[in-house]
């Protein structure tokens, strides 16, 4: 029974609201003990999918299995999953301790058992001193941790997190990202995390499902998603990239030779389904490109520096290729000595690491 190894199996899940389809035939498997992220812009269906797993939305078509058990027809209170809500949804009339104890008590524990479990959880999120307070007397970050403790206290098989960090300021958000990651390792519970923030997804996840317009665009590790985006949407949504229109001139030994506007030529990986003569998109990460004052090899592209932008850790250089498109090149601030910074107006050559340019399907 191989599928029982998976925490969650979503098969051909469809969600319709009247004539609008929020989720179109999505299938994905989430492994046991995994930090899994559903990533996409707002309206992409990620929260709908999460709410279908929690039981707040019914499944129009398809099935959801949890460790092999079919759950899509169970009401939310009979599913061994717990949710950290975007708005936290802490019970305003209960103090912190009773909020955290609520789920444990509902599962059948006595009040004293539930409270002692709740105290343990509050210790885990370092809020023991706040157990007698009402949620309204806590800061946003503290409320967020209470919500986390409350969802973890009943020991769910899967923890669902619906953009839990979106209301926090940047510094706190960064700290919580690490804390969540550690908490996931410590508890060994499968986490399903929903976010629209690609950086957050890359930082925390074991695997990421990128979604758009109700469809799964790509599923893979952060590295796979970042370095080998499958299509234009993923390449554009994750990180910063040079998205260029090219025409495939020739395919030789698994390499595609592509031509940019202005006659510049690039070597890329071959992609199934893209033949000679087709006009396609190509993604080139700015940090995998470097500039030099002399051509390094025959593939170097000639251009002129138009601007340098200092962004702290990096310097972004905008290069206009001769009669061609604009290129963004990123140089780490610490490399400026070895690689050199070229003043605007300098004639330069753009070089790239082998395999850096990736052809994309639309």
């Amino acid at each position: 029974m191989a599928r029982q190894d998976n925490a969650i199996d979503v098969r051909n899940a469809v969600k319709r609201y009247g004539s609008f389809t929020a989720l179109k035939e999505v299938s994905l498997s989430i492994k046991d003990n995994e930090f899994f992220t559903l990533l996409g812009p707002s309206g992409c269906g990620k929260t709908t999918l999460l709410r279908m797993i929690a039981g707040f939305e019914d499944v129009s078509h398809g099935s959801i299995h949890l460790y092999g058990q079919e759950i899509e027809n169970l009401p939310p209170n009979q599913r061994p999953v717990n949710t950290v809500f975007q708005s936290y949804a802490l019970f305003p009339h209960l103090n912190v301790l009773d909020n955290v104890a609520f789920g444990v008590e509902m599962k059948g524990a006595s009040q004293s058992e539930a409270r002692s479990k709740a105290r343990q959880m509050l210790e885990l999120v370092q809020l023991s001193d706040f157990s007698a307070r009402k949620p309204s007397q806590l800061s946003g970050g503290q409320q967020q941790r209470v919500a986390l403790a409350r969802a973890l206290a009943p020991q769910p098989k899967v923890l669902l997190l619906d953009e839990p960090l979106s209301a926090l300021d940047l510094k706190l958000r960064k700290a919580m990202q690490l804390e969540l990651k550690h908490l996931q390792r410590e508890t060994g519970i499968t986490f399903i995390f929903v976010t629209h923030d690609q950086e957050e997804a890359l930082t925390m996840s074991d695997r990421i499902a990128v979604m758009s317009a109700g469809e799964l665009q790509q599923l893979g590790t952060p590295r796979e998603i970042y370095e080998s985006p499958r299509n234009v949407f993923v390449a554009d949504f994750i990180g910063e990239t040079n998205l260029l229109t090219v025409v495939v001139k020739e395919i030789r030994d698994g390499n595609a030779i592509c031509q940019l506007d202005g006659g510049h030529e690039l070597h890329c990986n071959e992609v199934a389904g893209i033949g000679v003569g087709s006009s396609v998109h190509l993604s080139l990460r700015p940090e995998r490109v470097f500039i030099s004052d002399k051509p390094r090899e025959s593939k170097s592209l000639q251009g002129k520096v138009s601007e340098n932008i200092f962004i702290g850790t990096d310097i972004t250089t905008i290069v206009n290729l001769t009669d061609g498109p604009t290129f963004t090149v990123r140089t780490s601030n610490s490399d400026r000595g070895s690689k050199g910074i070229f003043e605007p107006g300098s004639d330069v050559y753009v070089n790239m690491e082998p395999g850096a340019a990736r052809l994309l399907i639309d």
Binding site: A54, F56, N77, A89, P92, H93, F102, G103
Partner: protein
């Protein structure tokens, strides 16, 4: 002009301070003229001597209160014993008003919940529908209710033609009829505050409770009800207090056996048979009891909250 800025700010504050006093004046005058002064007049009248054709003689007397609580025989010369007549009427009034309040809550809460959970655009229409019957005068509505409940009235005829009963049910001149009348008169006062509270309720709290293994019933009892409690309390007060002093429903639907405080007080000020000081005293006693109940309730509430914190 470094020093000018804070000075300018406080001038603005002073302007508002003055404006506030003037703007609040009409409210204060209305409250004073229509609420406080009448109560004081009533308090004074309750300690005066009655004039036989209505009105008062300006002479201090405790007779009104004495008449309410003590029985001194037909000629007033026997040793005093407790007078149960009026206490019974009071007790009955509280009972009737309490039942009507519970009935309003039982019907009003689901109604309010239903309206508050409709799509935002249609809520106003539902609220409007609730208030439509109340555009008709209360007297006409109460008389109509009596007509509906009569032995030969439409309700009995329908029940009999359906074969549910063999002979007409006697509903007019019963406690039930009064409770129904009160319930019907004041239902919107229950629905509207609860509706306002449920509309403000964050339904993700119900989702959170369900997510944490609570059944629907437990979610209602332990999450929704505590959150909308202020609305329920407001609704109960708004139905209970006017029901207690109501005289139309008890008069028209209850008959002589189901006499309530409102009717007792009304009679004291009607025609030549009345007794103004006694009516005023009964009103003061009613006012005092209601105030004590509300104060006890408020105190228990703050004590509960303090304990929670």
């Amino acid at each position: 002009m470094a020093a000018g800025a804070p000075g300018g700010g406080s001038t603005v504050a002073n302007t508002y301070e003055k404006a506030r006093t003037w703007l609040l004046l009409p409210s204060w005058l209305v409250l004073l003229g229509l609420s406080l002064i009448p109560v004081i007049m009533m308090l004074v009248y309750s300690f005066l001597t009655k004039e036989f054709r209505g009105g008062v003689i300006w002479e201090f007397s405790l007779a009104a209160y004495d008449q309410f609580f003590f029985d001194r025989g037909l000629f007033g010369d026997e040793p005093p014993s407790i007078e149960w007549t009026y206490i019974t009427i009071f007790w009955r009034s509280f009972w009737q008003a309490g039942t009507a309040t519970l009935l309003s809550l039982a019907i009003g809460f689901p109604t309010a919940y239903f309206i508050a959970t409709r799509p935002a655009g249609s809520r106003a229409i539902w609220v409007f529908l609730i208030t439509i019957p109340y555009w008709v005068n209360l007297l006409i509505r109460t008389v109509s209710m009596k007509f509906l409940l009569r032995d030969q009235g439409p309700l009995n005829q329908v029940l009999m033609s359906l074969g549910l009963i063999d002979s007409p049910l006697h509903m007019v001149n019963t406690n039930f009829a009064v409770q129904l009348g009160l319930f019907y008169s004041y239902l919107p006062f229950m629905v509207l505050p609860i509706y306002a509270a449920v509309e403000r309720y964050d339904f993700s709290l119900s989702e959170a409770a369900a997510d944490l293994y609570a059944s629907r019933w437990v979610t209602l009892r332990r999450v929704l009800l505590p959150a909308v409690k202020p609305g329920i309390i407001a609704g109960c007060i708004l139905v209970f207090v006017p029901s207690l002093g109501s005289f139309l429903a008890p008069d028209l639907l209850g008959g002589a056996k189901n006499y309530m405080i409102g009717s007792l007080i009304e009679e004291q000020f009607k025609g030549n048979a009345g007794n103004w000081p006694f009516g005023a005293a009964a009103s003061m006693i009613l006012l005092t009891i209601v105030l004590i109940i509300l104060l006890l309730f408020a105190r228990q509430q703050t004590r509960h909250e303090r304990k929670e914190a």
